[in-house]
């Protein structure tokens, strides 16, 4: 099992665009890292540098203790799965999966065994002799996965493998990828712009923005304690407010944002807040309609109700706040709400995150 380590990786294109900026991250052997970010943030470029398809401008890539910068993609032994599956259209499913083994001159019986084993792994054993044109998008993506895995890569790299599939298929293949990754225990880097995919699949999520990896951590941590304003706004839903720090200490930060005065618990190890402006991220689950458990009750006006099936999503306009607060409530409770209605609510500070721009750790 090999880990992957990227050290101060930078990619500047000839056009002068800095796609990846001084990125460092280590993926432990067998770990599943998701790199999450909007399109154009440099996540695909990062992945392509790991695969050897792009040359870093500076910085190093290590597989285990071996520096890989000068190793061509042919010799990196990575398994690569693309967004558009990239299944060779001129070869059958079987030949697609066998391709990497034929390159390696694996003997015919051994090749046959391994190809069928991997086709079974992805549930395509009975389609082995179909041509790609006869397969659905989901099946093609499975072929691509089997083709990448059959060479027993030291690292599996997936570039938005699900984004060309429809929603239902996406969920089922997502579960499959997770299962197979666990089963094989293969070090995996997964690039996506879909936070649901990243949060549900990965052991750790790295959030990338404008070429910079802004935060790396377990999914819960990235969601509960975003390190930067961007991470707070990109991962999960919520309302970002501008506020100021009243006092900090004892693992608690007291912040004032308009009429809201919140005592926000700070995660251990979080950067120390400096007196001055802060951003405040109020998650929808922090907004509790009616009287809260000991939290001060405020009043707001309901706007924009959206029925989502099992729940209702809405916004509360509060006097003195620059942005309406997003809230979710069960559909049954939401049924009594109407736009324009005044309701009391409270905020649970445990679902609020606070941070500062430009400070240490951001």
């Amino acid at each position: 099992m090999t880990g992957v380590r990227l050290e101060q990786l930078t990619k500047i294109y000839p056009s002068g665009v800095k796609a990846v900026d001084n990125l460092s991250v280590a993926v432990a052997p067998g770990e599943f890292l998701a790199i999450l970010g909007p399109s154009g943030c440099g996540k695909t470029t990062t992945l392509r540098m790991v695969a050897g398809l792009e040359t870093p401008t500076s910085g190093s890539i290590y597989f285990g203790s071996r520096r890989m910068n000068d190793v061509p993609p042919q010799r990196r032994g990575v398994g690569l799965v693309f967004q558009q599956h990239a299944v060779f259209p001129n070869m059958s499913v079987y030949e697609n999966v066998a391709y990497g083994l034929r390159v390696r001159r694996v003997s015919e019986p051994e090749l046959r065994r391994r190809v069928m084993e991997h086709l079974e792994l992805v549930g395509l054993a009975d389609l082995a002799h179909r041509m790609p044109a006869q397969l659905s998008g989901g099946q093609l993506q499975r072929v691509a996965l089997a083709r990448a895995l059959v060479i027993q890569p030291s690292v599996l790299l997936l570039d938005e493998p699900l984004s060309s599939l429809d929603a239902k298929l996406r969920a089922s293949i997502r579960a499959e990828i997770k299962k197979i990754q666990r089963q094989l225990g293969i070090t995996t880097v997964y690039v996506t712009h879909d936070q649901e995919e990243a949060l549900s699949l990965a052991d750790r999520v790295g959030v990338m923005h404008r070429g910079v990896l802004e935060q790396v951590g377990p999914p819960e941590e990235v969601y509960r304690a975003p390190a930067t304003r961007f991470v707070a706004s990109f991962v999960g839903e919520g309302t970002l407010l501008e506020g100021s720090l009243v006092s900090a200490g004892n693992g608690l930060a007291v912040v004032q944002a308009g009429p809201l005065r919140l005592e926000v618990p700070r995660p251990p190890g979080a950067a120390r807040l400096q007196p001055g402006p802060v951003w405040v991220c109020v998650r929808p689950e922090a907004v509790q309609l009616g009287a809260g458990a000991g939290n001060p009750v405020l009043e707001g006006v309901v706007q924009h109700l959206e029925f989502l099936g099992w729940s209702v999503r809405g916004e509360l306009r509060v006097n003195g706040l620059e942005a309406p607060l997003l809230f979710l409530c069960p559909a049954r409770a939401g049924a009594s709400l109407a736009p324009g209605q005044r309701v009391g609510f409270s905020i649970d500070p445990a679902s609020v995150a606070v941070g500062q721009d430009g400070g240490p750790g951001t």
Partner: protein
């Protein structure tokens, strides 16, 4: 998603990347570059260099009246090409609009309009003689109706031939452009209160501007570079290409003249090269759009469209009809039809099939060679970064430079080498013709292949690399199989373009290797119109059969 499709060129100079030893594709690319240098760049370069030498040595002083003649020829060439371009666009733009938007039986018109593209332009010119000549059918009709007739030989003859020959090319290019105009665009313009003509003028035409430019350039170049029609019906209207050719084949003319004229043609063509490449890029990459287009539904518009398209198609096809009639006719003197019909000309043809055989052998060798070159060069264009872009210009050269000039350059080069005692076997005989053809018609398969390359998903190749396959193996197993259909199409296009080539053929002609195009040309020149017609019908049939086969294959 980050907008980085292609693998980034590795750091280091391009030379270092190409010369990495174990890459057969790079070796082939270098060979192709050498081939282009030997058969295209060096010949053309020699002509230009020698002209500079002549001018610097004061050679113009002892060529009396050359200056005046030079200006006149240039003016004639530009006037002809400009006139043809203006006429073709004036007819072609409305025709294309009707053709795409308001015509029933579109496939029929598509086929009809393709016919002139399948034949060399000079076939059209002796057909115009049959129609507009002193005893031509239309001349007689005009005379009978008491209308003024005109002298065909000269500018009118060449212009008519060129218009008829290039109109379909322009219409098909413009039609391709019109098919990229999204329906929403026109519908929203109409919903804002524009009339159909207003919308066509203000919205549609600006949208397809690159295609209009492209077709104008195609027409201009075809007319500027052609030598067949001006030779046959040009009369005293001399143009640059004809003067260069006639001066070159006559021994009693100062041999500096064709060199100077050729160099001048090269210079003018080079000025157009940049424009051609720019418009080609714009019109090549754009047709990703394949949605619905707006059509004119009103019966009146469709009636007008049908009439207009039928009339123009009829006029365009009239010369070919005349050829068909003439090929079965005896003497076609005074009268609307020949005096009698006969199969004599075809029987005579059967006795001398050698030109056809020659053409098939030469095209059958040169076409695969040209396709091979375009596969190799197309790959190098993607892989070599900036050096690859150079190929882009070089392979367009034979497209903009007249075939006569390319021929003169080649013969000039071989002559020079012979003087140096280097009589290489492939620089004479049929192999020189094959080389000349593969260069001269390279732009056609090249266009097909570079479009095919741009459609290949680079990720397939990257997936192959990541699975451990070498560049060569990846090319052979992954890239090439995706190019097969395009290669077949490129082969047919190259073949038909080679078999209808005349300009280079006339100059590079090797004893014993008369081609079918040359045979038609010399019959036409000798006034053996019926024979020329019979052979033309044969040539068009061969080319049409091949093209039909290719499109049938594509449809399957």
């Amino acid at each position: 998603m980050t907008g980085t499709r292609a693998a980034e060129p590795a750091s280091g100079s391009w030379l270092a990347r190409i010369v990495r030893p174990p890459d057969p594709m790079a070796v082939l690319g270098l060979l192709a570059a050498v081939y282009l240098a030997v058969f295209l760049l060096i010949p053309l370069g020699l002509i230009v260099a020698q002209s500079v030498q002549i001018v610097l040595a004061g050679g113009l002083a002892d060529l009396p009246q050359f200056g005046q003649r030079f200006v006149l020829l240039t003016r004639n060439s530009l006037v002809l090409a400009g006139l043809v371009t203006v006429i073709v666009l004036a007819i072609g733009i409305p025709l294309a609009v009707f053709f795409v938007k308001a015509v029933p039986y579109r496939p029929l018109f598509q086929v009809l309009l393709t016919i002139p593209l399948l034949s060399p332009p000079f076939i059209g010119s002796f057909a115009t003689i049959l129609l507009f000549g002193r005893v031509g059918v239309i001349t007689q009709l005009l005379r009978a109706a008491g209308l003024p007739t005109f002298e065909l030989y000269g500018l009118p003859g060449i212009a008519i031939t060129h218009v008829i020959h290039t109109l379909p090319l322009a219409v098909l290019t413009l039609a391709a452009g019109l098919r990229t105009v999204p329906r929403d665009l026109e519908e929203s313009a109409i919903s804002l209160g524009g009339s159909l003509t207003q919308v066509a003028r203000r919205v549609v035409l600006p949208y397809i501007a690159p295609y209009i430019w492209m077709s104008a350039l195609l027409v201009f170049l075809a007319s500027f570079g052609d030598v067949g029609a001006p030779l046959l019906v040009g009369g005293n209207y001399r143009v640059l290409t004809v003067e260069a050719y006639t001066a070159f084949i006559r021994f009693n003319v100062d041999q500096r003249i064709p060199i100077l004229l050729s160099a001048w043609i090269v210079v003018i063509s080079l000025c157009l090269l940049y424009l051609v490449r720019r418009q080609m890029k714009k019109t090549e990459i754009a047709p990703a759009f394949s949605g619905e287009i707006y059509t004119y539904a009103s019966p009146a518009a469709r009636r007008v469209g049908l009439c207009f398209c039928s009339l123009v198609s009829f006029l365009v096809l009239l010369p070919y009809l005349a050829i068909l009639v003439a090929s079965f006719g005896t003497v076609w003197g005074a009268g609307l039809l020949p005096d009698a019909f006969t199969l004599r000309h075809y029987q005579a043809l059967a006795g001398s099939l050698e030109p056809l055989r020659n053409s098939l052998i030469l095209a059958g060798t040169a076409a695969p060679l040209a396709v091979l070159l375009s596969v190799v060069i197309g790959n190098a264009m993607r892989e070599w970064g900036r050096a690859g872009a150079l190929f882009d210009y070089v392979t367009l050269l034979p497209f903009v430079v007249s075939g006569v000039v390319i021929g003169i350059g080649l013969i000039h080069l071989t002559g020079r080498l012979r003087l140096l005692g280097l009589a290489l076997p492939f620089l004479s005989g049929p192999s020189l013709l094959v080389a000349a053809y593969s260069i001269r018609r390279l732009p056609y398969p090249m266009r097909v292949m570079s479009a095919a390359y741009s459609r290949i998903d680079r990720r397939l190749e990257e997936a192959s690399y990541s699975l451990g396959a070498s560049r060569a193996r990846t090319f052979w197993r992954v890239t090439l199989p995706q190019l097969y259909p395009a290669m077949a199409a490129a082969l047919v296009i190259a073949f038909t373009r080679i078999i209808t080539e005349l300009g280079t053929t006339l100059v590079v002609y090797q004893p014993g290797w008369t081609t079918i195009s040359m045979q038609i040309f010399s019959y036409a020149q000798e006034g053996l119109v019926n024979r020329a017609a019979a052979i033309s019908v044969l040539l068009i049939a061969v080319v049409a059969a091949l093209t039909g086969l290719a499109s049938y294959n594509r449809l399957r």
